[in-house]
Subunit: 147 residues, 2 copies
Amino acid sequence: MPSRRKLFPTADDAETAFYEAFERADLGAMMAVWAASDDVVCIHPTGPRLSGFEAVRESWGQIFSGGAQLRARTVDVRKFDGQSVAVRSVVEILTAPGSQGSPQSVLATNVYELGDGGWRMTIHHASPMPEASAPADEPSPPSHTLH
Amino acid sequence: MPSRRKLFPTADDAETAFYEAFERADLGAMMAVWAASDDVVCIHPTGPRLSGFEAVRESWGQIFSGGAQLRARTVDVRKFDGQSVAVRSVVEILTAPGSQGSPQSVLATNVYELGDGGWRMTIHHASPMPEASAPADEPSPPSHTLH
């Protein structure tokens, strides 16, 4: 599988490849971003925690086979960079091409690790952004949250 | 504020302190775990993305003032350790003492950074674990998820 040979020199390169693969619904390109490890974790919005490369691949295969292609852009990016572990906290803005509906916003935490000369994704944790999200300077009371 | 002087020699120490502060509903101890930075991110289950130390402190203050104290234990821990950035992916099992109800499970990604001689939390991303989560070897189809 040639895509496994692809190396991402930086965590940002891996992050870019992740969202490009998502937009193209390209399973090979998507899984080239992920570390080939039993420890990788993927949480799709409202979904369970999938663990291990094969379970993650299966989930993306199911999503991509649904045929829906979405445009994705990320905003409000927070970066936490170490020498071998890097994290991105982003807000994903997802738009269905041609759709008249509002974009959907997803909160994502993406983790990358340096290994074998390149960076690969080890965690993708995504959850829906509440529609009634208050502005950052007026956080809504978390009265319905456990913590 | 003496608690700010507390240092956590390892990411695991910071993680332990985070859940102990949560169980005790101890705001000072909770915020001693967090990095005093505008870049920290906290996402409570189903909540918005809170950014910055003050917004995070306000949210925990509101949660703790509600009076509900929960027992928290973490299972299925995945660790990703770098020299200055460390990540924990966990399943939180939350139980109300004396409650006859089922424990509630929360999926959490916790990020820690080494700074000023100790480890502190920079991201807590939590989302509800779906009640119908299939066992890990039988992931349920993510038919209702965006990605």
